[in-house]
Amino acid sequence: MAVCVAVIAKENYPLYIRSVPTENELKFHYMVHTSLDVVDEKISAMGKALVDQRELYLGLLYPTEDYKVYPHTWQWLRVWGFPAVAGLCTVMPCLGLSQSPRIKSVFPNQLCSYGYVTNSKVKFVMVVDSSNTALRDNEIRSMFRKLHNSYTDVMCNPFYNPGDRIQSRAFDGMVTSMMIQVC
């Protein structure tokens, strides 16, 4: 399940960006932005034969470690004597669970971003949370396929001008089905 989905035009501005509503959505925007550098690097590695440059799917761009706070693991860390780590975490930005004194634990949250570039130089970047379920490569590929199909439909819509932000409800619905359901 994706945490953030972005469609970037060939001039590198976002046509569509949507993330799971958390307090720090800007972090996802930054992540997508930095992924663009990796995408450019992969595309320009022509002739180096490391990447199969005939394929549209680019694969894992890069993983990051991110700290998300869960209250119940505090007890565990205290028992194992990780006071330094616990101390460090009071400084880390908490995601929406700030006021309670129990929130001083750390639990690394692996976010991975995947890329896909179409022949028309439109890039799709997807950020997934891989700490919950290990998403297989095939599943990511099929998610990108669905994205590409919906994007093609948007392109053929006469009311859409290429280069505008994507406002199609059908596209929104498809992306919602791919994202984590946060209640």
């Binding site: 005939r54 570039v117 179409t118 022949n119 199909n149 392109m155 053929c156 006469p158 290429p162």
Partner: protein, 173 residues
């Protein structure tokens, strides 16, 4: 069975529709013949531009759909070959007969039996009207190339129907 005729007939109506609406919109003062001829030329240019822009938008959408499953293109020549083979086959049910290039950004696509002109004449008759029927296709090529990241200018010329040549000039930015 009638699929090929569908687009052909629609295209013919489109051209006549654009010209008819231009005619209805025009206002000219009778008696000033010189101005009317000048006006007609301007109208012709405007209609051709309108048709070309229509083709441009259609080309953008079409290319997105056609390149959905193809592999990434290696270079410009690869893209031109795609246009000549797959794109032309899907739209006109035949390939471009001849592709020439000077390797410096100019490509000439020659079609000896252009589908949209076959029903019109088999020689020099109606030659002056041929440009109207080529504008949409020029736009189609330009739109397709633009979506693939290539800015270009596409013009067409006809010396003897139904053969025609499309000249693509790539703009290096």
């Amino acid at each position: 069975m009638a699929d090929e005729a569908l687009f052909l007939l629609l295209h013919n109506e489109m051209v006549s529709g654009v010209y008819k609406s231009a005619e209805q919109g025009e206002v000219y003062v009778p008696g000033f013949l010189f101005h009317k001829e000048h006006h007609d030329l301007q109208e012709n240019g405007r209609c051709i531009t309108k048709l070309e822009n229509m083709g441009f938008r259609v080309g953008q959408g079409l290319i997105e759909r056609f390149t959905k499953d193809t592999a990434r293109f290696k270079d410009e020549l690869d893209i031109m070959k795609f246009i000549c083979k797959d794109f032309w086959t899907t739209v006109f049910k035949k390939q471009i007969d001849n592709l020439r290039t000077n390797h410096q950004g100019i490509y000439v696509l020659q079609d000896n039996k252009f589908r949209l002109l076959t029903q019109m004449s088999a020689g020099k008759q109606y030659l002056e009207h041929a440009s109207k029927y080529l504008a949409f296709t020029c736009g189609l090529i330009r739109g397709g190339l633009s979506n693939l990241g290539i800015k270009s200018i596409v013009t067409a010329e006809v010396s003897s129907m139904p053969a025609c040549k499309f000249q693509v000039m790539i703009q290096k930015l």
